[in-house]
Structure formats: structure tokens, C-alpha cells
Symmetry: C2
Subunit: 644 residues, 2 copies
Amino acid sequence: MIKITLPDGAVREYEAGVSALDVAKSISEGLARKVLAANVNGQVWDATRPITEDSALKLLTWDDDGGKNTFWHSSAHLMAEAVEDLFPGAKFWVGPALDKGFYYDIDLGGRQITEDDLRKLEKKMNELAKQNNSYVRKAMPKAEAVQYFTEKGDEYKLDLLSNLNDGEITFYTQGKFTDLCRGPHIPTTAPIKAIKLTNIAGAYWKNDANNKMLTRIYGVTFPSQKELDEYLTLLEEAKKRDHRKLGKELSIFTMDDDVGPGLPLWLPNGTIIIEELEKLAKETELKGGYKRVVTPHIAKESMYLTSGHLPYYQDSMYPPMELEGQKYYLKAMNCPHHHKIFAAEPRSYKELPLRLAEYGTCYRYEQSGELFGLMRVRCLHMNDAHIYCTREQFANEFRAVNDMYIKYFKIFGIDKYVMRLSLHDPAKLGQKYINEPELWLETEEMVRQVLKESNIPYIEVPDEGAFYGPKIDVQIWSTIGREFTLATNQVDFAQGRRFKLEFTNKENSPETPLIIHRAPLGTHERFIGFLLEHYAGKFPAWLAPVQVKVLPISDKFLPYANSILESLKNADIRGEVDDRNEKIGKKIRDTELLRVPYMLVVGEKEMNEGKVAIRRQGKGDIGVKPIEEFITDISAEIKERRGE
Amino acid sequence: MIKITLPDGAVREYEAGVSALDVAKSISEGLARKVLAANVNGQVWDATRPITEDSALKLLTWDDDGGKNTFWHSSAHLMAEAVEDLFPGAKFWVGPALDKGFYYDIDLGGRQITEDDLRKLEKKMNELAKQNNSYVRKAMPKAEAVQYFTEKGDEYKLDLLSNLNDGEITFYTQGKFTDLCRGPHIPTTAPIKAIKLTNIAGAYWKNDANNKMLTRIYGVTFPSQKELDEYLTLLEEAKKRDHRKLGKELSIFTMDDDVGPGLPLWLPNGTIIIEELEKLAKETELKGGYKRVVTPHIAKESMYLTSGHLPYYQDSMYPPMELEGQKYYLKAMNCPHHHKIFAAEPRSYKELPLRLAEYGTCYRYEQSGELFGLMRVRCLHMNDAHIYCTREQFANEFRAVNDMYIKYFKIFGIDKYVMRLSLHDPAKLGQKYINEPELWLETEEMVRQVLKESNIPYIEVPDEGAFYGPKIDVQIWSTIGREFTLATNQVDFAQGRRFKLEFTNKENSPETPLIIHRAPLGTHERFIGFLLEHYAGKFPAWLAPVQVKVLPISDKFLPYANSILESLKNADIRGEVDDRNEKIGKKIRDTELLRVPYMLVVGEKEMNEGKVAIRRQGKGDIGVKPIEEFITDISAEIKERRGE
């Protein structure tokens, strides 16, 4: 008998050779039907693979990343089976799972594949899935595997084999398709109920332009048609809300070859959003007792040797500039500069907590291929701050940071969010984690308590903390349900010591402060990219580059329109007059496209009565009001940063 | 007879061999007494040197830089005469004039010089000056000069001679002192009426630490005791107001070895001043119709090749970072990035003038030896903007920029300022200046007209324009009368073309805009450095890092003090409570040192009546008021940015 420990700590005994699926069945048939794979002692396995020794077991379903991953990888195999059936002689390179879905790189012997082919393949995949074929794992000696693919004339799999050794080689078979594969796979094809092949692309073998171009087919599958439909709707909506498309249409940012990849230039409209966000952050941080600082964008090598960013983080930094025998680096983070400000004057416990805030601009090197609009950039305007505090102050400070997150979520209408608390592994203290067992337990428990008390949804992830302390990744979902990682929030025991930061405590002894790194609004780049999608470009009035557009029905009313513009300006409202010689219908349509929150249409009647006819973006006419009343209303809406 | 053309264009005839001094005498004896040197055809000459051909002549007096310079260089010779008299055997290296005063590097044969010696030298110089000795120029063949110094055993002058050729060698003698010297000198020693030797320092011969250490004696002289006294008072006052000293005392900025030289880190107090200045600039620019942008701090080499900064400005830029086969440079100016934003979208004349503003941070390489506190730095936060306009719009735009300067001067109590308008030289069109003769004349005349109409004090300087257009340097004087170059204001015909910037004009044809570069508040670094001296650290309330300090007479009144602090915070006033257990006298003295504009002293009486006893920085008690009244008053003072 072997002992199987479940995630809730329960231990059950089974015969050696029991599979995760067997364990699931022993609990309930319903559960067993949902099992896609299993985490056995930290590794993702086939749910059908025999377990032969005492093990920690977590059953993986569609709700787990590991479950989805396995599902999609198995779907790639299912697609390959369909390809082999429809296009005999096709040869297969690799077919991994993706964040959403999967692909397979295939040599179709020069044949071009069409959209029509994709539909045929989907049909065939549906047929094959319904056969409920099992994914069968078989280990094989290298010689035998080489012989198999040599006979088949498959140079791709032979190439993969050349990097593998005896004992590492497994084959998986479902239906008529057999593939060299490390696994794991789902038990059978039956759960694959909804299939969509989304895209065809060319991909050089091994990413090398000197090699043959293979056909890459992308797809995504779900356990139900409903989920697929939702996903396709989301895709469609996300396409409309693509921040690169909206960023161009609304003149938010631009890129330029002479400036460089990943380095957005913020146009006037984007800069207004930046400044509104900074205003919000500065107001909030001022109330929170933060002090602002301004630091240079470069520092000497010695600074980053002290911080440890060199050499460990070097690959993510721009290369150095050599000057007067010194190497200077563009800063990839603001912490070391802030630590230097902490160290600039002798500090007493009376000054703590000291909260230093800066919208610091950092530069990080991302591979050209990784760059993506505002989402993956090389220049980051970061809503950064570092809090230097005593152990006693830590819980309160951490709570205040969390409250700030929640406040921001409310302002931006972010209803779904989760904090991912990454913890240390006591077994790896002194190696992966700084060797402060008590501080780890103490701060982890404080963080946990605060999260619980604040009713913040969170999950705990063992063994993913930062080297220097527990880490909280904040994940948020846009209105259309896409997930974004916004920011991290970190506790730091290590940097204070590396930089020899000290304050004089109540006992008149030197003590190293704890440091909280926090950036609730993340970077302008990613956050504004998120907001573009989240609002579909229809920013709430307080954030909108143009808040009000005045549309005179004809030139006759231009003086009245201009007088309204003056009144708006005097009330610090960002307005414009559409003074083009165009029909009012066209003026309205064009202003809609620019997603301006309010349009004020003015003609004879409005002019004579000192009124404006108000149209709200997305809502149409909302009535006629005296201009003063409109200004009072919108001023309140802006001041309160109302969502709509 | 030769023709002498005077600066006002008048032409007079004289015998060949006439001296500038003779010409002055022919005009008036009073003028002749003031002549120190002369500008003859663009070169500064002895006023006594014979003029043998038709020449343009400007007589130089104490009011001219060339006059002062000659005066100080002659004073160095006078000091050398005194040194030779008091320390026989002294050998002399070089003795140049400085911005203020002069020095001479002397080999005293190992003798240490004392403060007492300086007083003796001053006395001797006064004696010698009163002898009214002439400075007599004598040309000499090289061989004869070498013989002279070989006999004298003067290796220093022999070294100087080794770099000179026949025809270049002149000697000057006054009284008993003769020196190898290029000149020019003042006519006689008589005008040197007030003498102060200020400092003694060691200086390696030829600045090389392997050479002998010479004694450098610094001094300054004036044509009257009154001027010397004023200068010494200014020096004393400037020392008290030294921005590096005040910057430390008031926690404005710090420098750090690990960050690098010339790269200030702005502490919370300095950052408050930065943010108030930016707020002022943003408000002013918003009213002026500017749009704000945000651009990265780096760009590819290609950008700076287009702008022409590479290779011409390369020495002032940080060295490149090499990434993916590209060179990236830290920006040394914001213009190219702004031009790219102009070019990002098609532009119509309807959008002009387009005014793009950014508090851009630039990086410039200054030699380590040139760095000086905030005044000469490597990191510059610049109050930058570029105005793209048509020729027709130019005069109005330029006027608006000038008005902005004047507005700022009023706010900061800058009473003395001058604009230095640098023009082109028509003879150098196509070489030193872009070949647009009409545009030069047109814009120079427009600039001149605007300066006249605005009643702005200005001077015109021929042949000092920028390559691409006329340039205006703005010079201001601090309260204690020290001069600072604040900013430049430039017209640019060239960059628009280099960057292929175009707008569609009314005739539907492409046209290149004119560009105005402007930065009225200069850089935060230099401007805050100036303000520290200008205000002696006693910032007006709107700029002061802490605006109000509440001083409870004893701990008993701490709750009342804290309630006042709350009221101040609610009114957006930056306040602090001095909660130390100290006597009220000490609290007041310490707060005075921090130059906080207002102190509110609170005790029994104030608490019972809901009042505060107000002390104004530098003025002492100014009465007791209800707290609400004080808040109303100071809020108005802050809002109006009152000087005091």
C-alpha cells in the first residue's frame, strides 16, 4: 500500500500502481469525469499513469492551469491526427499548448492550406474526439524510437530524438496517431467538445530563416460549446478594443523607427491621460503621507553591484555607457536611487515610516520579438514608491497599500481582481531565499492576515517568493474578461542590508528598516494599454483627453459655441469647438468616433435661451440644460472621478 | 591720413600712427581718462598702440568686458612687480585675467606665502600704481628674447618662448618689471585704485601633477574703492547664499558617488519646489495654448545624425549604448523627439501654431572639473517647448514667449534682466549661417520689433546667432546682483527641413514650419540653484517646502497644535508640528534656521480663543488671529504666488 496525501492534508491508502484517475473515482464519479491531469509531487502527470510510491497528489481539472494546458496539448495531438488523415504524408515538428489554445508546426510537403481546409480539419477533429480514444503512453528505448522514425522517413522527429537519451523517450498514441512526446495528456479525447482552428501562419523550422518554412496551425478547444462561443466573442471584442488600434485612432501614442522599438512617444492626448493618472496618484499618496523625490535615470555600475542587479539582472538592462573609466547604466528600477535618498541623511525611528514616491522612468531590455504595443515596452513610467518601516509598522503600512489598490480598483471599475501571494520554501532558506526564517513567517503571516481582514480575494503560491521577501502579484480583469498582471507589491528584507540602510531605534541602536516596494498603478504604458481595452477608448470624463465638444449647427452659431468654450475653459474643462463647415450629423458621427464623453449641440433655440443640447457618448440625447448647469454637473463628475 | 570709423558710423581722419588714446583725446579729455584699451578691427589692442591704416575703432572702458579684462591682466603684471620687489628671485609662469580679477602662477623658490604677505603685496601694489607708470610694449626677435631669459635663468619664460616664432614676441614693461607678454595692457598703472589679493593656492606647472607646484596668487582690482567694497560685500553675501550650502541645510538635494558626478538626487523638499515650478509652468503653458507630450530619454544614432547633433555635438553627449547592432544615445535635448511627434500625423495649417511642451530630462556630458553644484550638472530637467508656426504667425508667437518671460520675472522678483539678441553676419551666409538671407533679416527684424514694443531691455550682438537662426540669451541678476544666464530662446529655420517636417498650407502645398525653441524657466537645476541664492533660502510661501510650522509652547498644547495642522492640511497648506520637548525659544530659533515662512505659536490663550500667534520669517511677531483668518490669508498669498 502507498500513502496519497491530498491538498487538504487528508492521507489515503491505495495499492501501489493506482492512478490519479482511480483516486478520483474513489472519491466520486463526478470528480473523475472532470479530471484532466494530476500534479504528483510537484510534477504534472497523466491522470492514468500508475503511482508507485507515497505521493502528494492534486487532481487537475479545467479550473487549473495545469489541466487546461494538458487539454490543449492533447488537442494539438488530436489536430495532428486529423491532419494525417486529410493530408497523408504530413510530417510533424512540435505542437505545444499556449496561454490560450495550441499550435502545431507541420511540413505539408509544399501544400498550401486554406480556410476551407481548417473547417474540414475541425470537422474531422470533432469526429475523432467523439470516438473517445484513450491517450496511451509508452516508454521506448532510443534505438527502437530511431528505427521507427527512420522507417517512417521523419527527419523532424529524428532531430528531436537526437537530443534525448534512453529513459527519457515516450510515445503517445490516440486513435491512429502516434507521436514522440514527453506528455502529459488527458485520459481520452471525449472532453474535447468544442473546437476552433483560428489561424494559419508560416514558421521557419527551429525559428531559423535558413531552414524550411513549416505550416503553423493555431487552434483553441473547450469542454463545451458555450465556453468556445464566449471565448470567440471575447476575441472579437478584444480585437475592436486592441490598444494599438485605439491608440492610433485616438492619437494616444506613436512609435518611431529613429527613436527605437519599445519606446513609445506620448502624443498630447496620451499625455493628458498620463497627467490625470499622476494627479490621482500624487493626491492619493500625499494623503497617505508619502514624500516625493526625483532621481536621475542613470547610475554607476557600483550602484547595481551593491543592489545585486549586476550581474543577475544584467540581461534585462540596457548595455552600459563608458565614461571617464566608469560604466553608467540606465536604471531598470528606482529602488537603488531611493535607497540612496534614505541613506543621504541620518535617520531616526521618529521619521519612520518614510515613504518615498516617484513616477520614475525605467528602461528594461526586452527582446525585439517580445515587444507588444504598450504592453511589453522598453521604457516604463512607473507609479513607484518605497516604504521604509520598522517591523511593528509593517502590517499597518501593508494594509494601507492594499487599501490604495482597492481604492484605485473602484475608481477604474475593476470588479474582478486577485492577489497572488508568493511564499518562501523553508527548505530553500539560504539558497533561493534569504535566510531569515522568522522574518519570512512573520511577514507572510502579517500579509495573509491583512489580505483576510480586507476581504481581498487572494491565492497562496508556495515557493515563488522573491529572493528578499514575500511577493504579491496583482491580477486584474478588463470589462471583457481578459486578464492583466498589473503590478507587484513586495516585502524586502535584503536590500536594506545590502545598502547598509539604518535608522536609530528607540533603544538608540542602529537597525535596518523593512522595505515595501509598491506600484499600484503599475506603469503608464501597461495601465493605459489596459484602460484602452477596458473602456474601449470611451474614457470616463475625468480621463478623457477632450471632455466636451461643442457642435454649432451652422457657422451662424460659432460665436455662441466659442463663448461656451470660454466658459468651459474657465471651469478647467477640456473642450473644443467643431468649427468645420459640415452638417451637424457628420459632426456628431465624427465626435462619436473620437469617443468624446459629451457633445453640446447649439443652434438658434439654444443660443437664444443660453442653453446647450447635451449628447452623452454611447447614450445619445440626454436633454437641454442651461450651460451653467451642465458645467456644474460635469465638474462634479470630473472631480469625483465618476466612472460614467 | 587714415580713416577711423567709430561705432556710431562716424568716420574721422587722422595721421597714420595715431593711437586710440589720441583719438579719444580728440573727442574729449574726460573720455580719454576712461579709456583702458581699444578694439581695432575686431582685436583688442593697447590704447597707446599706433594705428597705421584705415580701421574700425571702439574705445574700451571699464564698462566693456574687453576693458575690464585688460585692466585685470595689467593688475596681474602690477602684482608681479610687487612680488619681484618683495621676493627677489621670484620666477613667473602665466598671469591671466579671470571673469572677476586675475591670478599669477609664481615660483617663489620654496618660500611659503602668508596672509600677511598678501597685505604687504597689496600695500606695495598701491605704491607702484600711484607712480603712474606706463605699460610699454616692445617687439623683440626670438633670439634676443631667448638670450634675455637665458641670462636671467628663467626656465618658465624660456618654455613659453619655445612655442613662439619671430614676429609674435612682445615684451611689456611697467616700472621695474618686464614680462614676456602678448598684451594688451592699459595705458598706465594709475587707474588701478583699489586692490584686494583674495586667495593663495598651489598649482602644478602646466596642470601636471608630475611638475613642480607653483604658488598661485588670486586678486581683484577696481577703478575705485567703492566698487571694491561693493564687490567684497557681494562675495560675502554670495558665500552665505551659496546654493550648495543652503541645498544641504534645507535638504533640497544630495549627490552620491554611486550615482555619479553632476547627477543630483532631489530630496523631498527639493521635489516640492520642482513640482511647484512645474505647476506654474503647466498652468501658464495651458493658458498659452501649449499641448504637453512625454518622450523617452533615449533614441537611436540615426535620429541624431538627422538632427546633426552627431557628430557636431557628440563631445557633449553621453557615449552610446550598443544594442542589437544599434547605437542608442541618452538625449541631450528634446527637440528631435518633439519633431518626431510633429511628424507622427499629417499636419494642416489649421493646426498651427502647434506648441509642444515637456519637462524633458536631458543628459549632457560636462567635464568633471566643470561640474558645480546645481549650476553645472549632467542631468537637466528642462522647461522645454517647441512652437511650430508659419512665418505669418511668428511675431505673435515670439511676443507671447517674451510675455511669458516677463510674467515669470515678476513672480520671482527678478527686477534686472537683459535679452542678448545674437544676429547673423551676412558675409557668412552658407558657411556659419544657413543660407536664407531673407528669413534672417525678416525674423531678426521681427524679434527686434517685439523686443522694442515690449520695452524689454536688450542688446544686439552681431555674428553670434545660432547656425539655424537668431538666438536670444536671457540674462538675469539675483537680489544680490550676481548675473546668471537663465535660458535661450531660439528661432530655427533648419531643423524643420532636416527632419522633413511639413504642413499643408492654405494653397494646399507642403510647407516647412518655422520652429521656436524656448525654455523660460531654464532647467530645474540651474533655476533652483539661482532661487536659493536669490531668496537666501527664504522661499516665498508658495514655493516653501514647509509653509507653516506650528509650535506648541508645551506638550499640553500638542492636541491643539495637531488640530491646527489638520485644518492646514485640509486647506492644502504644507504644515508641520514641532512636537519636540523643547523650550519655545529653541523651537523658534530652529524653525528660523529652516527658513519656514510662517510659525504659529500656540499656548493657553491661543487655545482658549481658537487663535494662533503668528511669526513671519524675518519679521518676527505679526499678531494674533483666529486660525480661519490665518488660513484665508496664507491661502490667498499662496494662490497669487506673492513674493512676500
